[in-house]
Amino acid sequence: MAGLSDLRAGFDPATVKEDFTLLRNPHHDHPLVYLDSAASSQRPDSVLAAMDDYYCRSHANVHRGVYRLAEEATSLYEGARQKIGDFIGAPDPGREIIFTKNVTEALNLVAQSWGRANLRPGDAIVLTEIEHHANLVPWLMLASEIGFEIRYLRLGEDGELDLSRLEETVEGAKLVGVTMCSNVLGTLVPVSQIAQAAHAAGAVVVADGAQYVPHLPTDVSSLGADLMAFTGHKMLGPTGIGVLWGKAEILDAMPPFLGGGEMIKDVRLDGFIPNDLPWKFEAGTPPIAEAIGLGAAVDYLSGLGMAAIREHEITLLSYAMKKLEADHGDALVIHGPSRPERRGGVLSMQLDGVHAHDLSQVLDSRGVCVRAGHHCAKPLMRCLGLAATARASFYIYNDESDIDALSDALGEARSFFA
């Protein structure tokens, strides 16, 4: 049933849910309460249909065949690139949007290509303590090989980064890598403020948009970052497709990452000439159907409107934080910023006396899906002094009834383990 808040947000989650076959289907005798979209969202039937249609009518390899079917496939693939670029405000999608496997591969591309070309022993880069392993481990791997320093912006009060020493931390650094939204705390990171300081220090800025791009309006022309990664499966698209956006002049100067077909202009036995952007970074047959599926996902999101999606999530977050506080009080700790406006749609919770795994198990018995664990952010978890949290995350198909089901199931877990 649509509440007032849903009408204000511009769309009704109950109607949205109708577009998702998986969400309409019952789940072990319970209606499915899917609260794990930060790990992976569900996808609407239109995304599945776009991929199915491509395979049924237009599949051939791209950029190769001189026949109509191949031209159709190429046009659909490149059309998706344009659409996805427009979605994030990329000035030149035809050169600046690089398809990868996921965010992890996109960030490894940056580390292996930009990092190897630009980082020397004794150099410094800056990351934050709240990074996902995907924006941490590629740099740790490279640092152990090259021998550069990694400095960290630390966690401060109320789940926010401590930026009191921002200028001196970025001083002399060659790169600053920062998440746009913490996948554990939900913290929205002030990327443009950090980028301004980083650019003043002469550093390149790479942003991890995995938890941001699916949920908030994104405009790379005003973001401040030079490179940004995001992934399809967290924004209604299929798995197996990620995106690296980068300013053309930076991407142009970077050497290729993976070698093979598609990424070359010419190959001789003694060398090769790399292809132009973006194909220089797309070795081998790319994820064609997945790109087309992500294009359809972007159409769906644009249809709802990213501003309306953000408004919906703030409404849900506010409702959830009030409801959970009222029902569980001190027994439940919610990590991260206390103001809903300061966070993305994730709630990491700790229920007194109940381990996150046990909590997740009890919630599952009520059809409620949450993520339990360290969320691939072990340094942050260590900093918080936690081994695991249970994380509920929201998206366009969630409404107040999902929060009510979550809160009821939390009550059951409390009585079970009390």
Binding site: H355, H357, D358, A387
Partner: protein, 161 residues
Amino acid sequence: MPGLEDLYREIILDHYRNPRNAKELESPPALRAEGYNPLCGDEVVITLLVDEGRIQDIGIGGQGCSISRSSASLMTVSVKGKTLEEASAAIRSFKAMMSIHESSLAPAASQTETPTAAELAKMGELAALQGVVKFPVRIKCAVLAWNTLSECMAKATDAQP
């Protein structure tokens, strides 16, 4: 779908709330091993005092869910006072109950067999963890302490001349 009561037996909840042998023995002389479950962040620290091939005392530290903590607690009760050989046999039967068979040479049929009533009776309170096998993702929680005990006991064997 198996119910929660299959998983969370009263004995399990009791050992979770009141873990036995929750302590860290001074090492040395005690042997020490740490185990991690990288997927969920569970940690276990085992300290083991072995004298003349017999487990004189055992301590359990770390953190984890009710299944991993209760399994560790029940394990300490089960192996304390046993010889290393007896403890090894206990580890094998526990893992067999969790459908983990050490030897790939074992006949295929025995790998799918569930423990008999007599075998379960011999396991005593440990049999309470049998329901875990119906929740495959939790098996790794239940065996964490046992695998770590194996590693710790290997140190005792290594230390012998």
